[in-house]
């Protein structure tokens, strides 16, 4: 039997996942058209984000099957999703002779780290060693740092060429950073109201809506 707020949360998680998977279709275009592997981090990042939202929905709906380690897996995968996006931004600004190699090494290391993390989580009695709350706080702090890096990068791009079309993405990432901050507060202060977590989820929906708006406007707006 689900509580009312759990039902709402499942709906928001599913909607977020669908939005992420639609965004993947747009985010893969820079890689498809330019053939530059350093842009593959964007669809990977949004794909992983979408997958974590699906896992989140399942872990609420079927806690007996998707409980326990699934919580850790979605925490880790979400942080890696943000890392994929952040490294894409980092390497997009440095088209040097060796940057392609550095990107390939970074991508390989990220995947190795991700697999090792999943294997560690799968160890027996893992949740006796690390409490979920400690892990949650730690990963949220890392997420905020990564998103702030992306925010600064995109805002710098806007400052270089100020335009009404380039301001939306840094604003979108800022919403995501505040959303992560809200979930961090929810993790730190145990008896905080559920409004905090729903505030965070709504901010996340705003972030995804901004990105969808920008993508649809770019690809489907009629041009002269």
């Amino acid at each position: 039997m689900l509580y009312y707020y759990e039902e709402i949360r499942i709906v928001i998680e599913v909607v977020s996942a669908v939005m992420c998977f639609i965004l993947v279709r747009f985010m893969i275009k820079p890689y498809e058209v330019t053939g530059e592997s350093r842009y593959i981090g964007l669809p990977l990042g949004f794909g992983f984000l979408g997958a974590t939202y699906v896992l989140s929905a399942f872990s609420i709906y079927l806690p007996d099957i998707f409980g326990g380690n699934t919580f850790y897996i979605q925490l880790i995968a979400r942080t890696f999703a943000f890392l994929f996006i952040a490294f894409t931004y980092h390497f997009s600004k440095k088209p040097t002779k060796n940057s392609r190699w550095f990107w390939k090494i970074t991508l390989t290391l990220l995947f190795i780290l991700l697999i090792i993390s999943f294997l560690i989580v799968d160890l027996p009695n893992f949740d006796n060693v690390y409490s979920y709350r400690t892990a949650d706080i730690g990963f949220r702090v890392i997420n905020i740092i990564i998103i702030l890096y992306i925010c600064i990068h995109t805002f710098r791009s806007y400052i270089e060429k100020p335009s009404s079309t380039t301001i939306w993405i840094p604003i979108g990432y800022a919403f995501l950073a505040v959303s992560q901050y809200s979930t961090l507060l929810f993790a730190i202060v145990v008896d905080l109201s559920h409004y905090t977590i729903f505030g965070a989820l709504i901010l996340r929906l705003i972030f995804l809506s901004i990105f969808l708006f920008v993508a649809i406007r770019t690809f489907y707006q009629k041009r002269r």
């Binding site: 058209v33 330019t34 088209p95 791009s157 690809f219």
Partner: protein
């Protein structure tokens, strides 16, 4: 020749097709003019044009014109560059 950042092949293809699109109203497209605008050696330009012809993106190598497929490609290419600019991504300007 002015010094520009190193471009990958896809970027050169994109630039070349964009120039051809702007030259669409010209009866005859002069290759040396294309070469100056694209900023590549002449033999390299001819090589790129042959490759684009093989991909069915242009009609003729000596007086290149965009095919329908070429027009579609350049439209998509410009949209993607615009999307990357909006996303705050850089692509070898």
């Amino acid at each position: 020749m002015k010094k520009i950042a190193r471009r990958d092949k896809m970027k050169i293809y994109g630039d070349l097709l964009t120039i051809l699109q702007y030259e669409i109203n010209n009866e005859k497209i002069v290759l040396t003019r294309l070469q100056l605008k694209l900023n590549v050696p002449f033999d390299r330009l001819k090589q790129y044009l042959t490759e684009l012809k093989d991909l069915d993106l242009i009609e003729d190598v000596t007086s290149p014109k965009l095919t329908e497929k070429g027009k579609e490609y350049i439209s998509e290419y410009e949209k993607v560059l615009d999307f990357m600019r909006r996303m705050g991504l850089e692509y070898q300007k």
